[in-house]
Structures are given as C-alpha cells and as structure tokens.
C-alpha cells in the first residue's frame, strides 16, 4: 500500500517536472524569437526603400466594426494587396474577448502583426511592453498635425514618449432627438439643447407629450451600469461643470469634487423628476438604443452609427415614426461655456513580436490615407480619424456637422495604463447613483448619496493609481 502511494507520488512529481521544463522551454523560445525578429526588423528598415513586400503575410486583428466586419475590411484592403503584394489575413476578435486576447498576445509574444484596439485601452496595452513605438514612422502619415488634438491624444501614454496606436476611426456622442415630439411640445430644435438649462426645459416640455401615434414616449432615457459605456455618457456633464476625472497630474481622483458632484447630479436628477425612464437602467446600451429606434424615447445620447442606420432597411428596430423624425444636436454647453462630449473610437497598434514590421506599417499607412479612411468610416457608420476627411464629411449635412463639431471639442480620458480599471470603478458608482435616483437602490436618493458614492469611487481610483510595479 505504502509503496503504491510512493509510486503514485513519483509519477505525479515526474509529470510536474516534465511540464515545468516544457513551460520553461516554451518561454525560452519566445525570448530568442523576439530577439531575432527585433534584429531582422532593424536591418529590414535600413533597406526598406527598395524592398518588395511580395509574398509577405500580415495578420490583422479587427473587432466587430459595423454589420459585416471582415468582409468590409477585406473589401477596403483589396487594392492594397494588389499594389504591394502583401497578403493581409483579417481575423475577427469579438469585443467581448478582445481585451483578454490582445493582452495575452502582447505578453506571450504570440499574436498577430497589427491589431485594432479601443482608444482608451491603448495606454494599458502599451504599458505591457509588447507593442512597437511608432514615433519614428508617423511622419509618413503627417504626424500629429493631421489629427484633431483629442484624437491624437489617444495615441499617447501620459508621462512617456512614444506613439503607440495610430487613430483609425472615431466616434463621438451627441444628442439624438425626435423632431415630431419636440414639435408637439412646442420646442424649437435649434435652441432645444444649446445648454444644460435649455436641455432640462426641453425635457420638461416633453413630459407633457405622453404619447405619439398612440405609442408611449418618455422624454429621456439612458442605460445604467449594464452599459459598458455608461461613463462616456456621464462624464460630459461632469466636464461641463468644470470637473475632471483625475487631477491634472493624474495622481489622484477628482471625481468627488464639487464640480463633478454637480455634473453627476444634473443627469441623476432627471430620474426623480420623471424626465428619464427608470426602466432603461435595467437594459444595456444596445437595448436602450433599440428603445430609441423603436420610438419609446424622445431624447437619447448616442454615437454616429445610429445615424447611418436610419436608411438601412434591414435594421428593423426602427419604427417608422422614429426613422422619419430623428434629428441630431451637439451636446449642451455647460456653465463653463464649453460643450463637452466623449470622443472615442479605435486605433491601430503594431506588435513588437511581428517579424514583418515594414509590411505591417505599410498596412497602417494605407489605412491612414484620407480616401481609405472616408470609405471605411462610411461602411461602419463612424467618423474618419483624420482631420481632413472629417471636415469633408461634416460638410455633407446638418446632422453630420453636429458630429464633426462634437469631435473637434471632444475629450477622452487621462491616457494612463490604469484608466480601464478606474473607469470600471466609476461605472459602478455612477450606476449606483442612477439606481438610487430612480428609487431602485438601497439608499434614498439625495445629494449626500451622490457625494458618498463619488467619495467611494475616488477612494477606489486612488488605490488603483497607487498600484506600482514594486
């Protein structure tokens, strides 16, 4: 009996050792391969002028952009592949898993050559050390001056030199409204949302429009903590009051400042006053979007892809009334006189472990051409990331002009590696505040609740900011 136990233990130990050795061997291989590719890339770029890319393969990860992500991207890349001879392998990585997969690829050194990444994720990925600094190459595409400042900022990491992600396409949040509802309420769309006060007055007036065409309609609706982008919808109001997400030096949270409390209170107050539909807080972002499309909300905050879906017959979420009467206005101005909105989108990042870096850069360069940007953004219902094609699109009509304006003044968050985590902490607290405001939380809603929730958010954020490598 004892002998068999000993044998079993020996067997287990043998397996453990074998596996441990295997794991070490694996990581050795990784190190040596990244080392050698680093060399070949540097020698490669020295002779890149006359280099032919014929037969080189670039693997490119994209996320679910628009209704047909892979087909659309492949279509855009056809001329590029013919011209350069580079074979681009477009692979779809869903938004639900992209964070894990890109992070793991960056750490393990086994991944694609180029990947799409959300603008607010760039600093975190860059901090992992698995991505190429593109600053020596960006002059090829016009560098900083070719982009709006808020957008170029998303390529950077605070307190660090380097360009880590090239802006690919852009989105900004604006006000969507139902012109028929506004008309019935007797409000002029041109002045309905100029500042925070007029926006509230508009919503008050809309309260009397109880239904349109026999269908119940609420003045305003927004998703709660189930929406991944809750913070994008709340922060503009904080910025409007002069608040900030972090202090200027990014070392402390500023989300519990009096300005930030005022900003959050503005949006939360809409619930107890009956201006915002509490049942929307149960839904996620897409579900609330469909509620607006279905005609149950008169005012809603959304991105440009919704505008482009109005003409799509196959988007059956739209009710006829909403399809015909949807208008877009820039976000309201706050007491500071600025109209703030969140500007986001996606950037392109190049992996350090890529052994075809020059070809990978050719791909990024191609995707940064003005006409390619315009064509691709149009397929997605997004905005191009570059200034010139943005301008051209903004001149097409009034609704697009609203988005163009939003993008020019749009803001993103502090470009620090911990931002994603801080955003999660803020999202939880904003969600709690909205729940309380709608009478659904454990606490009774008051300004003290907002303050205490934001104090907690700040405490969490400070703990996250204090993280270190030590």
């Amino acid at each position: 009996m004892r002998r068999s136990v000993a044998l079993a233990l020996t067997a287990i130990a043998a397996v453990l050792v074998a596996l441990a050795l295997g794991a070490c061997g694996g990581s050795d291989d990784d190190n040596s391969s990244t080392g050698s590719t680093g060399e070949s890339a540097s020698t490669g770029s020295a002779t890149s002028e006359a280099k032919s890319f014929e037969g080189q393969k670039v693997t490119f990860w994209i996320m679910n952009n628009g209704p047909h992500p892979v087909e659309d991207t492949e279509k855009i890349l056809e001329p590029f592949e013919q011209e350069t001879g580079i074979d681009v392998d477009v692979q779809l990585v869903g938004w639900d898993v992209q964070f894990d997969r890109i992070r793991n690829a960056a750490v393990s050194g086994e991944g694609p050559d180029v990947t799409q990444a959300g603008t607010t994720q760039v600093p975190f990925f860059a901090a992992l050390g698995g991505f190429e600094d593109l600053s020596s190459r960006v002059e090829d595409i016009g560098g900083e001056s070719a982009y709006a400042p808020g957008i170029w900022g998303t390529s950077q990491v605070a307190g660090q030199d380097g360009v880590w992600g090239i802006p690919w396409f852009t989105e900004a949040r604006t006000i969507y409204y139902r012109s028929d509802a506004l008309e019935e309420a007797g409000v002029d769309p041109a002045t309905a949302f100029t500042d925070l006060e007029s926006m509230r007055a508009t919503l008050e007036a809309l309260k009397d429009v109880k239904e349109i065409g026999g269908k119940k309609i609420m003045p305003f609706g927004m998703p709660g903590k189930k929406a991944f982008d809750l913070v994008h919808n709340v922060m503009p109001f904080v910025w409007d009051e002069g608040g900030q997400e972090l202090t200027d030096d990014n070392t402390k949270s500023a989300i519990n400042s009096p300005e930030a409390v005022r900003g959050v209170k503005y949006i939360a107050d809409l619930f107890p006053e009956g201006l915002a539909d509490p049942s929307m807080l149960e839904r996620d972002g897409t579900q609330v979007e469909n509620q607006f499309k279905g005609g149950r909300l008169a005012v809603w905050i959304g991105g440009p892809w919704v505008l482009s879906s109005i003409d799509r017959e196959d988007d059956t979420n739209w009710s006829d009334a909403a399809r015909e009467n949807t208008g877009v206005a820039p976000m309201p101005k706050g007491p500071t006189g600025e109209a703030n909105t969140f500007v986001g989108g996606s950037n392109l990042m190049m992996f350090k472990s890529s052994d075809v870096k020059d070809a990978a850069w050719e791909l990024i360069k191609y995707l940064s051409q003005d006409d390619v940007q315009t064509e691709y953004a149009e397929l997605l219902g997004m905005f191009p990331a570059r200034l010139q094609p943005q301008e051209a699109l903004g001149q097409q009509n009034e609704d697009l002009a609203a988005f163009y304006e939003a993008i020019q003044t749009g803001r993103s968050y502090a470009p620090i590696p911990q931002w994603g985590q801080i955003e999660n902490a803020y999202k939880t607290r904003f969600g709690n505040i909205l729940d309380a405001a709608a009478g659904l939380g454990g606490e009774k809603y008051s300004e003290a609740v907002i303050q205490s929730q934001l104090d907690e958010a700040a405490k969490e954020a400070d703990a996250l900011l204090a993280q270190s490598a030590g």
Partner: protein, 334 residues
C-alpha cells in the same frame, strides 16, 4: 467545476447499496498489490496525468499567484512578478482602507445568502416534487419527463431567458403579477437594487430542482413498500411515515445532494454574469463574479488568486463540517 466532479466521485460510493463490502473483496492479499494491480494503474494513468495537467497544476499556479503582487504593471511578468507575502490576503480580509476589502465582504455575504436560499429551495422543492411524482397517476411519465426540462437548458440560456422575463416594463413576470392577476399594484424592478439577488436565486432554483428531484425520485422508489405497509397497519399516518421512514432512508441522498449543491451554488458565476453583466451591483455581486471581474477586467490577478484561495479554503472547511455531520449516515449503509 472540476472540483465538484472530484468531490462527486469521491463521495460516489455512498450512493449505491453496499460498496464497502465489495471494496473489501477486491483486495484480499495485500502483499503483491502493486504487481497484481499494474494493469489497473496503467489504465488510470492517462486520467491521472490529465487531471494533474489541467486541474492540479493550474490550481498550484493560482496558489502561487496569490502571494504575488500581480497588477497592471507587473502582469507581463506573470510568475516572475514580485512577491507580496501575505499582503493580498491581509488586504482582502482586514484592511478597511482597501476598497477590495468591502467588495469581498459584500460578495461573501451575498454568496452566503444565495447559497443557503438556493440549496434549501432546490432540496426542499426537489423532495416535494419527487414525492408528488412518486405516486401513480395517469400521464405520470410525461409529467416526469417535462419536469426534467429546465435541467437540459444550459445555464447561459437560463440567464438570458430570465433576463428578459424579469424586465420590469415588458417582462412576463410583471405581466403576470401586475397586468394579468393584479397581485401587485406597482411593477417591481427585479434586475436592479435589492431584488436583483432574487432575480438570480429563483432561476437557479428553477434550474437546479429537476436534477435533485431525479435523485430523490430514484431514492424513493428504492424504499421498500413493506415498511410503509407495516407502519400503516400499526396506525402511522402519512406524515409520520414520511418523517420516520422516508426521510431517514433518504438521508444519505440528502447528504450527497447537500454537499454538491452547496459547492455548486458557492461557485455560481454564469447566471449573475450573463443576466446582470460584468458588475451585478452590490446587491447581487457573488464571489465568483467579483473575482473574475477584478482579475480579468481590472488586472488585479494577485487579488483574484488570493480571494480564490480563501474561497477554496472555505469550501474545504465545508467539506470537513459535512463529513463530520454525515459520516455516520454514510457508513451505516453497510
């Protein structure tokens, strides 16, 4: 999941009538055990290797990470990250200034309530339905088959379906409670606030019940009819017969169910995650959703690993308590 499987198999012999006797017969001579059983060892070797590779090693790896300072900045070093000693555990269990501490206590409390209510619901409900279905009535087979339906539905689908059913304005639950029957005047909101814990408990019971019922039904059918008949002749009513005959005979089955269901409930993840999102909120955040969120969304892998170790220890403690409470029941089977 894997840990549940191992527990199931280790407690497996308690279920059939007389396994200890059989096991005794299997190894009469101890001297040449290894040589005699070589073939058997060879047969189980692949399974052992597999378990070591996919179960034991990751568990040990997680145990190591629990003592590392693994965060956004050190993530790329993984096992090479700096040691943190017991700091992760200290922060979770005792450090009031650390936000993770409150989150953990809150999730532990929710998980405790969730586990107690869900397991009680599943066991009591399962037993009641098994008693009903144990009677002869027309259509008995069809009803039994239908009762098993929720068990076949994957947890993911359960969560998606109930997520729609709970919606306060258009969901079927409020339609029934408010619009059709008028039982309630106001439409309760299920997916937010204090009700959200019930929004995950009820579907969990709904899904766990059939399996439990199946086991009890099998147990009930093994209860000799003569016992009931004899007791009835002696004048015992149905309720006394239930408490003095049926329940004692079912004790081993109850014990096994209790063990499995508690561990399963304490490790519940799918239903809150799918129904309520990556952050179910303070009223419905369970330990598993907290750990996954902090680890994979917030890169606090050191925290996640330490919290997992704590949960694992708590579950081990539960197994010890369970063994102490039911050991005699399981042995008297002989």
């Amino acid at each position: 999941m894997a840990s549940i499987d191992t527990v199931t198999t280790s407690s497996g012999p308690a279920v059939p009538p007389d396994p200890p006797a059989q096991a005794g017969r299997a190894r009469p001579r101890r001297g040449h055990g290894w040589r005699r059983d070589r073939f058997a060892y060879a047969l189980i070797a692949p399974a052992v290797l597999f378990m070591v590779a996919i179960h034991l090693l990751p568990t040990l790896g997680g145990g190591v990470l629990a003592f590392k300072n693994l965060n956004t900045f050190t993530f790329s070093q993984l096992f090479g990250a700096p040691w943190a000693g017991l700091r992760n555990f200290e922060a979770i269990l005792f450090d009031d200034a650390n936000p993770l501490h409150n989150g953990f206590l809150n999730a532990a409390g929710n998980t405790a309530v969730y586990t107690v209510v869900t397991v009680a619901g599943v066991l009591i409900g399962g037993l009641l339905i098994a008693l009903l279905l144990n009677r002869e009535f027309p259509g008995q087979r069809i009803v039994r088959t239908l009762m098993l339906a929720p068990w076949v539905v994957p947890s993911f689908v359960v969560a998606v379906l109930w997520g729609f059913m709970w919606q306060s304005d258009v969901g079927i639950v409020n339609k029934v409670l408010v619009d059709y029957t008028g039982l309630l005047d106001d439409r309760p909101v299920w997916l937010l606030g204090p009700n959200s814990l019930w929004a995950i408990i009820i579907p969990s019971i709904w899904r766990g019940l059939p399996f439990c019922m199946l086991i009890f039904l099998a147990g009930l059918q093994a209860v000799p009819k003569e016992l009931h008949e004899a007791a009835a002749i002696d004048g015992a009513g149905p309720i006394r017969r239930f408490f003095y005959i049926t329940l004692p005979l079912l004790r081993p089955l109850i014990a096994v169910q209790l063990l499995i269901q508690v561990i399963y409930a304490a490790y519940q993840f799918t239903i809150p995650w799918i129904m309520l999102g990556t952050n179910p909120g303070e009223h419905a955040d369970l330990l598993m959703t907290l750990i996954v969120r902090q680890s994979f969304s917030n890169n606090l892998f050191g925290f996640g690993a330490a919290a997992s170790v704590i949960v694992m220890l708590a579950m081990s403690l539960w197994v010890v308590v369970w063994l102490a409470a039911f050991r005699r029941d399981l042995e008297t089977q002989r």
